[in-house]
């Protein structure tokens, strides 16, 4: 099908593509937000790998199309055939095998990295054989042997409000995490499905009402981040954010102690504020909305003695 010269040209093309796509893959790290957890580093490695392979395929195929547009145009009245070739067994096997091998490679790489993340703990895989005997839906949330973590924080979420309870029973609207320590977040939703998402952490987990869901993460970069609700939760969905602080263990303990002794401070709940006084928009529908619960316990820093 090809002459020797063409094989050489194709070889050069493929070599060039390999270099360019590898370079694009390296750039991919800079397209992501800063890596604030150990998990984020692994996810970014995977993303870079995926971008390299993707760039190779995209540039390879689009390159051929552009080449054809540049060099294989016919004159308007020329309706004779280009080449009468209807198929080529070897070539078709090659291009079925290529995506198959790539897919296997990508899947293995992803599986490998998923195992390293160990977000919920892979031991739940043993539930595979019991879906008919016990309550199968809870397999995701209850693990027989909980993954060890040095810190446990309860996360309570409702429309449109986050609150966090710390081991010393302090409840706050801010999430504080000690750096370089694995922390378990026990998450509970009250009304609808919400999602825990901090882009810099690369982790996301839906919180389904009626289920206890936990994830374990290890922050590695101090700073202030924004926690967002990743699952559409109704009218004031966009306002459902909270501040996240990753800080040294000393600072974290200091903050905990300070919060215990400090007076209750009112945090403004934006959804509540907007429900009372909606922002001025050009078009107003006048449609009803669910009224967010008024500020209560969750809206104040308070020592919680009920557990």
């Amino acid at each position: 099908m090809f002459s020797f010269f063409e094989y050489v040209l194709i070889a050069f093309y493929v070599a060039g593509l390999l270099i360019v796509s590898r370079w694009i893959g390296q750039q991919a790290f800079s397209w992501m937000p800063p890596q604030a957890t150990a998990e984020a580093q692994r996810v970014d490695d995977l993303f870079s790998f995926l971008v390299s392979i993707g760039a190779f395929i995209l540039l390879g195929l689009v390159g051929v199309i552009v080449y054809a547009i540049a060099f294989h145009r016919a004159s308007p009245e020329d309706y004779s055939e280009g080449h009468p070739s209807r198929g080529n067994g070897k070539l078709e096997i090659l291009w079925t095998a290529t995506p198959t091998l790539l897919v296997v490679w990508i899947a293995l790489q992803s599986f490998n990295i998923y195992q390293q993340l160990d977000i919920l703990g892979l031991n739940q895989i043993v539930h595979l054989h019991t879906p008919l005997e016990s309550a199968p839906a809870y397999a995701a949330t209850v693990s027989d042997v909980p993954k060890p973590a040095s810190e446990t924080i309860d996360v309570f979420v409702k429309q449109w409000d986050w609150s966090f309870r710390y081991p010393n029973n302090v409840t706050s609207k801010e999430l504080h995490l000690p750096i370089n320590r694995s922390t378990r977040l026990n998450m509970q939703a009250q009304d609808v499905i919400h999602g825990f998402y901090v882009p810099e952490f690369r982790l996301k987990q839906d919180i389904v009402p009626g289920r206890k869901i936990d994830i374990v993460l290890t922050p590695i970069r101090p700073g202030k981040y924004r926690l967002k609700d990743s699952q559409f939760s109704g009218t004031y969905f966009a306002l459902m954010e909270a501040d996240v602080y990753v800080e040294s263990l000393d600072k974290y303990n200091q903050w905990l102690a300070q919060t215990v002794s400090s007076e209750t401070a009112n945090d403004k709940n934006q959804a509540v504020a907007e429900n009372i006084q909606p922002p001025k928009t050009l078009f107003k529908s006048g449609w009803h909305t669910i009224t967010p619960p008024q500020p209560a316990i969750a809206n104040q820093r308070k020592i919680n003695n009920d557990t």
């Binding site: 971008v51 309706y79 070539l91 897919v103 990295i113 995701a140 839906d206 009402p209 449609w287």
Partner: protein, 554 residues
């Protein structure tokens, strides 16, 4: 030819050109096809208008154009209209028009059922739109309508936006099931003598695969919607967590249809690309058999991938890993298609008329969308970008940059056949560039936004996301404007365009052997097929030697 016969043919043509037939209850598959296509295009314009309002709101980080309930209603209706009242029924219309012509049949297997499936749609669409007038407005839970959010009814009216949304979708679903029965039966039993499965055009293969998916998977969505309606209005607790229900079950039922739905939309688009590329590159479709079988392969694999939409939904690890593997398998048959298209163009004689521009543009954009699709199948990466604009960008590369571009290719390609007139080439090319460039500006911008963590469905956002949002919004306004030259061209050409010959593209395929527009019964006599499809390279059948007269080609 006797005098009587030519008079009858002339009368027939007159009837075919009578615009009033398109407003009548006709059982002619061609009339029904046009009815579908014109009606769904109106919905496309409406859905696009809603998208432009959404993009206008997202020009600035604050919420300042529409209030939040309206914004939520806008994206819910945009998604619903574009999927259920534009792409899926447009494909049904195009398939209606083409399938009997392509397989050498006089009509669909059940013409009356065909007409009924169409006439369910206008009332269902109007019903859906009427919810804008309700005191509490339209449904506001997104096109997924996940409970419990979709079960919350502020204001407590029995007839509310969500109620209307469910009823319209059930009606549309019934219409689709009727259509699917009809298509599968027609393709199976109505083929002309000699039209074996491996002589069928790939478009027919892809319609066959897509409609099989409708039959297998659509009942699951219908069931989910009926259970949701019972929960919403009649006090049951199938999906209510405060009762004994489980909202995750809804997600399984919903995605069991709605992931294959992507292929119900995409397969006919792949089919269009496989028709247009060979015609304008003058090559046989490379690897025809593998491309045809890949359509079925895509249909089979896509039944087993639905959980990849739920990687973050409290899904156990074993399920995450299993569905990661199955989702990636889709890349194999789709890869076969993309490689075959590219090989068809290789060493060809390209004619870059408008249909070809749209088909090549669509094919190239599909490769981009496919690459990000494989990324999304990789669970660890998906966990980061799930529900962000990365997904919105990927999805629109498929549904707009691939499927809608292919639909435009189809409209231009078969316009002479359907109307008997030629469209204006210059306007067509203008339309292509006005679509291709802004579509990439709009939907590419969403990828960096998603990687940075901007969530979908938010009505206001953090200021750091504004740059790419402004670019996406400006692109979307241009994209909206691009439909104007298209409408002008289509309406103007339909009324005043130059008369088209039977086969202006020198294409193979049975539909080009009959007159433009085709007579009531499609063919003066049922053709006998004795050659493989896409015979562009074979001088025996080449139109170059035989002129564009259909008679001499048989």
């Amino acid at each position: 030819m006797t005098h009587d016969m030519s008079e009858a043919i002339a009368k027939n043509r007159e009837h075919q050109n009578d615009w009033r037939q398109y407003f009548s209850f006709s059982t002619d598959h061609k009339v029904i096809g046009v009815q579908y296509m014109v009606m769904t295009f109106i919905f496309f314009l409406l859905g696009g208008l809603l998208a432009m309002i959404i993009r206008a709101e997202l020009l600035t980080p604050e919420s300042n154009l529409v209030d939040r309930p309206l914004y939520n209603g806008l994206f819910t209706m945009h998604g619903t209209i574009m999927i259920f009242l534009w792409i899926i029924p447009f494909n049904a219309g195009l398939s209606n028009y083409l399938v009997p012509l392509m397989i050498g049949a006089r009509d669909m297997a059940f013409p009356l059922l065909n007409a009924i499936s169409f006439w369910i749609l206008p009332p269902a669409g109007l019903l859906l739109l009427s919810s804008f007038l309700l005191p509490n407005g339209t449904a506001q839970a997104g096109w997924w309508s996940y409970p419990p959010v979709s079960l919350q009814v502020p204001g407590d009216q029995f007839i509310n936006g969500e109620f209307i949304w469910i009823v319209s979708l059930v009606l549309i679903g019934i219409s689709s099931i009727m259509g699917a029965v009809n298509f599968v039966t027609t393709i199976f039993w109505m083929r002309a003598p000699g039209m074996t499965f491996f002589r069928m055009p790939v478009f027919v293969w892809s319609v066959f695969s897509a409609q099989l998916l409708q039959l297998i998977n659509l009942p699951s969505l219908t069931a989910a919607l009926i259970l949701l309606l019972l929960d919403l209005s009649f006090g049951t607790q199938f999906f209510k967590p405060e009762g004994s229900g489980d909202p995750i079950i809804y997600q399984h039922l919903f995605w069991f249809y709605s992931h294959p739905a992507v292929y119900i939309m995409a397969l006919p688009a792949f089919g269009i690309i496989a028709e247009v590329l060979p015609a304008f590159s003058r090559n046989p479709l490379f690897g025809y058999r593998s491309v045809a079988l890949a359509s079925l392969g895509i249909a089979v694999v896509s039944i087993f991938v639905w959980v990849h939409h739920m990687f973050t939904s409290a899904t156990p690890d074993w399920m995450r890993m299993t569905f990661m593997a199955t989702s990636m398998l889709v890349a194999i048959p789709t890869g076969v298609k993309a490689f075959a298209w590219t090989a068809t163009i290789w060493r060809s004689k390209l004619h870059l008329e408008t249909p070809m521009l749209f088909a090549m543009g669509g094919a190239a954009m599909f490769i981009f969308g496919g690459v990000t699709g494989v990324m999304l199948a990789a669970t660890p990466f998906d966990i980061h970008v799930n529900n962000t604009y990365f997904v919105v960008g990927h999805f629109h590369y498929i549904v707009f940059n691939t499927i809608t571009m292919a639909i435009f290719a189809a409209i231009y390609f078969w316009f002479p056949k359907i109307t008997g007139r030629m469209y204006a080439e210059g306007w067509g090319k203008l339309h292509f560039w006005l679509t291709f460039i802004p579509a990439n500006i709009t939907f590419f911008s969403m990828h960096p936004l998603g990687l940075q963590g901007m969530l979908r469905r938010i009505s206001s956002y953090d200021p750091q996301y504004q740059g790419w949002n402004v670019i996406a919004s400006l692109g979307s306004f241009l994209l909206g404007a691009s439909t104007l030259p298209f409408i002008a061209n289509i309406v103007g050409s339909w009324l005043y365009g130059a008369k088209a010959v039977d086969n202006p593209w020198h294409a193979t395929g049975l539909e080009w052997t009959t007159s433009s527009p085709p007579p009531r019964d499609n063919f003066e006599e049922i053709p006998v097929v004795n050659r493989p499809p896409y015979d562009y390279g074979d001088p025996k059948y080449s139109f170059v030697e035989n002129s564009d007269n259909a008679e001499s080609n048989r």
